[in-house]
Symmetry: C3
Subunit: 158 residues, 3 copies
């Protein structure tokens, strides 16, 4: 079970106590064959602080942005957990990852940053963690974060 795997890896999901603002951390669309869970764009917050700020690479080194991307995955799992008890263990795969990297003009290695998120998802979920992905640059992100990542997870029915 994913929740046990996280525990074995020493990863604690941050609490995401509601009430939430004008949008929610995650929204599920159910079908008879299971459903999709759309997770909002996650910033690399850790213990209430942004892990990485400013454009890559001038203000944030690639390796640091990679660590931030991994934190976005952890926060995404915390977002999954807000759906309800057992939600984490209903995750059966990853469908899509959308990765925005705050980039200096001309920076062209967004995939190297996004790979850190992708590799971590495969570590957690195995082959089912493989996903379609779009990784692009941008000149500006919320809170001046270096990375924002959104996700679509595939869920089994409860």
């Amino acid at each position: 079970m994913l929740i046990e795997k996280l525990r074995a890896m020493g990863i604690e999901l941050p609490a995401m106590p509601g009430p939430f603002g004008t949008y929610v951390p995650a929204k599920e669309v159910s079908g008879p064959a299971g459903g999709l869970l759309f997770v909002s764009g996650q910033l690399p917050m850790r213990a209430g602080k942004l892990l990485a700020e400013g454009p890559v690479p001038s203000m944030c080194a690639i390796d640091h942005a990679r660590e931030a991307a991994k934190q976005c995955v952890i926060n995404a799992l915390a977002a999954v957990a807000t759906i309800g008890p057992g939600a984490i263990d209903r995750v059966v795969g990853v469908v899509r990852v959308g990765c925005f990297v705050q980039s200096d003009d001309g920076f062209a290695q967004q995939p190297q940053v996004a790979n850190a998120a992708s590799e971590f998802l495969i570590e957690l979920l195995g082959e089912a963690g493989r996903h379609a992905r779009a990784a692009v640059g941008t000149n500006a992100l919320p809170l001046n974060a270096s990375v924002e990542i959104e996700f679509i997870f595939q869920m089994r029915t409860a």
Copy 2:
């Protein structure tokens, strides 16, 4: 019904007469349990003119960009209407909002702009209007618009 709620609020949906260009305002994917409606990226057009142009905040104040974001929601509902008679009243919820804010380098308050769209969706649809969201900055948008927003709505079958 949503269509009556809009009327009560004095909101008139703009006409979106076809034929359309190379893409369509909205595309529905149906399933036995209802479907998803993907709405194209909407610009803040009102009465044939862009409501807000240029990057936020140097050329477009945040409050003005927020009004533009609300207009994008109105235009999205007009896009829903192009699917066919009764389409608006088949909207049962909002799954995802993708908000692009044309931003000066270093501008970091995209969520404040996107919130205007999210708040309006909740006003229209209640709890079912809550959605997953990605809000990011960009250095350039079509027609030099300050905001572009795309949507995925959840639909009940006809």
Copy 3:
């Protein structure tokens, strides 16, 4: 059949031999009524080289970016083919196109670039090729590509 149409048009799909890296070219989500295929963001690679580099229009003319956008569609179909034998002919329509154009500040004609992809999809698939679309600018893309396009295709069950 799409595969024959491509052949008749003299379009050969590039090989996409695995193993793939940390993400996959395409990921399918199946349902009883058919499924959705999420295709990763495609760059305009042709014969192993990028067709168009740098921001539009200063380093890449609009017409050249349009040719690149068409190449992204060809590469997307090659990505579809990686799913398995016959996958191309299970494509029954296009749901969404997400087009990122590397743009000079102030460039506002992203739709003109994206149209080349949209027109080509309609040429290939007829009315079912019409799709919802978001076209936006960005200051930076992987490998310094001028265009990146991701896709959601609608699939019939095998």
